[in-house]
């Protein structure tokens, strides 16, 4: 009787569940089918974030996880340093206004120019600043691998 009433009054039946599940499973299928797209997305994501903070590119982890009724992308990006904000608040940008994806900057933000062919190992001055600020802990553990 209850089942009858439920159906009569238009309560969602199993088709609503099916649609939800299908939506999620197709998203996952599409991701599984496009590893190059995911790689490009990861690279571009990290490039954008690098404009604002210095990240450890070797240890980046990006995964996708189903949570409740959605798919979520979880990015674990260790931060090596956060540039001191300048007076006019344009933290993260180099003095010449160009956003360059480059090895770590040796000078303070406002006057820096990246050295061509610079190593990934941060220069001495940077290291001192980092000791003062304390190393930022990576965000919580990455979700299950794809």
């Amino acid at each position: 009787m209850i089942e009858f009433l439920r159906r009569f009054f238009g309560q969602p039946g199993s088709s609503a569940t099916a649609k939800e599940r299908l939506r999620l499973v197709l998203m996952t299928d599409h991701l599984e089918l496009a590893p190059e797209m995911i790689d490009t997305m990861k690279r571009e994501l990290v490039d954008v974030i690098s404009r604002y903070v210095e990240v450890d590119r070797e240890k980046i982890d990006v995964t996708f996880e189903r949570q409740d009724r959605t798919l979520a992308m979880l990015a674990n990006i260790p931060i090596l340093s956060v540039n001191r904000p300048s007076e006019n608040g344009d933290a993260g940008k180099h003095g010449n206004g160009k956003v360059e994806i480059a090895p770590p900057v040796a000078e303070p933000v406002s006057s820096a120019q990246p050295k061509p062919g610079a190593e990934t190992k941060p220069p001495a001055r940077k290291r001192r600043r980092r000791k003062k600020a304390g190393r930022a802990a990576p965000a919580g553990a990455a979700a299950a691998a794809t």
Binding site: G13, S14, L33
Partner: protein
């Protein structure tokens, strides 16, 4: 290790599978491939329900989805959100078997090894598939292998390593013809048992659908059971809850009876309300020479 013969038509070959010498002391579980030729007759649904029913009897069961590129066993079981690694990850040794096995949400001792979605069936090496199935037989009472439709590489992969076969057929001429062909391809190594799925007794009574007798007059296979066509199956797939979880339903009970028969119990083959025998003249000529 038994090798498939590539130069004759019989995929199954003619010699019995060799026993795994190292595992002499271990009682090996049974490996059963579920296949049909024709698509859409209910192989995946049957695998999910049979696995559920066998696990309910206390057996340890693993179900392998061999439909690489078109995986669906996960979604029928409601486990699509839990798949992390798949069959090819295991075969190509990127992960351990245990990392890839997905425990069923509701049934104890029931596990799924999902297919890869982004790969091709040609990527599976049949020798590795056989080795994997043998390893799984050491740990499980039943290894059920859900074959894809067709008789191409996917089917051959699924058959590799299986010791027994269940063919699933609907009471329709095209399906019967395809099963007949598949039985021929399976060869002498297998003595397949038959499940007839999606029977509609009222149509059989009206003479508009083949009866159980009609089907088996052609196929002549030992019958495990007959399942009626029920709209409820669509609902259960929508929800990802196999009907075998509900033993009070006729179809759920039928799957349990089939599981009992697979296990060797002396239980009658489940049958929906009986359908009268009605023979069609065309049946005889349709199948001449098809079985090899």
């Amino acid at each position: 290790m038994h090798q498939l013969q590539s130069d004759d038509h019989a995929v199954g070959g003619d010699t019995p599978a060799a026993e795994n010498v190292e595992a002499k002391d271990v009682k090996l579980g049974r490996s059963i491939v579920l296949t049909s030729g024709k698509g859409g007759v209910g192989k995946t649904t049957t695998t999910a329900n049979l696995g559920t029913a066998l696990a309910a009897r206390g057996a340890r069961v693993v179900m392998i989805d061999a439909d690489i590129g078109l995986r669906n066993l996960d979604i029928v079981l409601g486990l699509e959100n839990r798949v992390r690694h798949h069959l090819l990850d295991v075969l190509e040794e990127r992960v351990e078997i245990d990392d890839a096995l997905v425990a069923d949400k509701r049934s104890e001792h029931l596990f799924l090894l999902a297919a890869a979605q982004a790969r091709e069936k040609e990527d599976v090496e049949t020798a590795k598939m056989q080795a994997l199935v043998t390893k799984l037989r050491e740990r499980f009472d039943y290894v059920l292998i859900d074959s894809p439709a067709g008789i191409e590489q996917g089917f051959k992969n699924a058959v590799a390593g299986a010791d027994e076969a269940i063919v699933v057929c609907t009471p329709e001429v095209a399906a019967v013809r395809d099963v007949d062909r598949v039985v021929g391809l399976l060869g002498n190594r297998f003595r397949p048992q038959l499940i007839i799925n999606r029977l509609r007794p009222q149509l059989v009574r009206k003479g508009k659908m083949l009866s159980v007798d009609d089907v088996n007059a052609i196929l002549r296979l030992p019958l495990l059971g007959v399942i009626a066509d029920e709209p409820e199956i669509i609902v259960t797939t929508n929800k990802g809850e196999p009907l075998a979880l509900r033993t009070a339903t006729p179809t759920g009970a039928a799957y349990h009876a089939i599981a009992a028969r697979v296990a060797g119990d002396d239980v009658a083959a489940p049958m929906p309300a009986a359908a009268k025998v009605s023979l069609f003249e065309r049946l005889g000529s349709m199948f001449s020479g098809a079985r090899r």
